[in-house]
Subunit: 349 residues, 2 copies
């Protein structure tokens, strides 16, 4: 497949361009919140510190807003057509991070305190709810027929998101071995819902708001879901073998928390003798000490869990790209999406 | 104003009829949740205990679903027209109770453990989110033009609800006296948002789904908001002078928690000398002992706070009824609404 003949922008430039396009509407939207929630949202979006003072450079990449803008452009519209959708998905993403951090008990995110840690659990629950409500409200203000179609897509993605989160939480209480053990395909389905649904919805919303036919939006949605699984697989690799300097988390952090992640599940599902030794380490009495963690990580690798996860990420990236091949898209935006997709997955922290 | 010539049902019969009409759709809706969330929802709705076993008779009155059904009937439709709206508002109400109990740290509700107490804070946050998402999704499945109009109303009410909750939480950290003190009219605005918005939305949604003009839905919405303020005023009276046997809360519970409620704010805002003595008691050092609580409650009464709150409730009930007078409604449903409105407020626990 040939890309556009126009100059191809690099991924960080694409992200910057989309963020700049969306920023005024996102700022305007956050201003509609109760002042207290606006402060919490600005903190969570990385725009300001706990005291409300500006903190330059602490914001996220803005992956979801970029997908919404590119979705609109890919459908033949202007990037501006996707802005309302971009605002909605950024609000949903922010809400879900705030509530996720409560559920996981995480005290830091991007090297800053999490919202519940900085403002208290009750205020964090409510701030998340306020962002959730505003996201829906934002799309309900877009006239028919695109507005209602967009709301329908967002609410479907929200349903998938909470379903995936429930699965992820429940995996924690399931055993490593035996008939109740979590299987790799269950984990994949969870990741597609928990991580993929909002990424897919972001791109699809942009297309819907630009007036695209359902088939185009569906293709972008599917691409985003596969991107989500690939993203989660890389996240899992970093959770075991990531450089603490870059991830901001301790080495072997996911193993430390006995999280059921793809590399471990894939290792346990293999026939390699190291898989049985890994089982013994994981199901042994008491928490793993540093030596145990090191040994477990080595056995996951030896049993093929690390390699299987790299393959998993690559396969889903390839499928994500293939989803875009099967549908009629504006070539410039298709090129930007193809640049962005591997960039989002290929990270070190 | 004359009521319908058909036999007038008593309030409990009206509630029963509406609950029976809505129940199959609500059960069906809860079944769409992740099984874990369905269990939490059934517990929270009073359908089952912590272990999932049925608990007859522990469900709530179903005020919001009744308002949605009656709103549809009042607009000249069938009660069935309002059922989807009834399901949505019951889901939202359940979500807001679950998250409220986390924010307030309440450990019991209707003499059973709250969801966070029974299932943990993280699962309770997520279960609330799942109900929120399902509520929106339920209405997005209703075709245009009524579906999108209903989603718009619900999302507006959700915005008001979280705004009112934020105000309520912030009132806690404001002083009893001085320029920063909470004034009775601020409290009223908070109650209209926190308690009234969903009640108003419930009746309005029923009307919208039955195809009513916006003016009819707006009138029902206003009536519900005033009902909410009246409801909150009575709640505040019960929070200080309610019989612990009936309320399930200790005597003087709101004073014990130094909650800023209407009776106290109205007492402090009065010129009566008891108001100044109340100020001294509330702003004194250390928590109030039993004698101090008893004395504070007496001073609130002496300064006219109790009487002002009864007047407040009566005024808003009268205005709620007047909202229904100004609009063309089916007489049978108007009669049912006029029966229900005072019944919902006139309670002892």
């Amino acid at each position: 497949m040939t890309l556009s003949t126009t100059r191809q922008a690099a991924a960080p430039e694409i992200l910057d361009r989309c963020r700049e396009l969306v920023r005024p509407a996102l700022v305007e939207s956050v201003r509609r919140l109760h002042p207290w929630h606006a402060e919490t949202a600005a903190f969570s979006l990385g725009w300001s510190g706990v005291d409300g003072s500006p903190v330059p450079g602490s914001q996220g990449k803005g992956v979801r807003q970029a997908l919404a803008v590119l979705g609109a452009e890919a459908a033949g519209g202007s990037g501006l057509d996707g802005v309302t959708g971009a605002v909605a998905v950024e609000l949903v993403h922010t809400f879900s991070l705030i509530h996720d951090d409560i559920m996981d008990g995480d005290e830091t995110r991007r090297r800053r305190p999490t919202v519940w840690k900085a403002y208290g659990t009750g205020p964090a629950v409510l701030a998340g709810d306020a962002l959730f409500a505003l996201a829906v409200r934002t799309l309900t203000e877009v006239p028919a027929p695109t507005g209602p179609a967009a709301v329908r897509r967002l609410s479907g993605a929200l349903g998938d998101l909470v379903h995936g989160q429930a699965q992820d939480l429940l995996f924690e209480s399931r055993p490593w071995t035996g008939p109740e053990a979590v299987l790799p395909h269950e984990y994949r389905a969870m990741a597609a819902q928990k991580t993929g649904s909002l990424l897919g919805c972001s791109a699809a919303l942009g297309a819907v708001l630009a007036g695209a036919p359902a088939a185009t939006a569906d293709a972008l949605d599917r691409a985003g879901r596969h991107l989500g699984v690939a993203f989660q697989a890389v996240d899992d690799l970093l959770g075991i073998w990531g450089d603490p300097q870059l991830t901001g988390k301790p080495v072997h952090s996911d193993l430390r928390r006995l999280k059921k992640t793809f590399p471990v599940l894939a290792a346990l599902a293999s026939d390699h003798p190291a898989a049985r030794r890994l089982e013994a380490v994981l199901t042994g009495p008491g928490p793993l000490d540093e030596a145990g963690l090191h040994r477990a990580a080595g056995l996951v690798d030896e049993a093929g869990g690390r390699r299987a996860t790299v393959t998993e990420a690559r396969d889903h990236l390839r499928t994500a790209r293939a989803c875009l091949d099967g549908v009629d898209l504006a070539e410039g935006a298709r090129g930007d999406l193809l640049t962005l997709i591997p960039f989002l997955v290929d990270r070190t922290g």
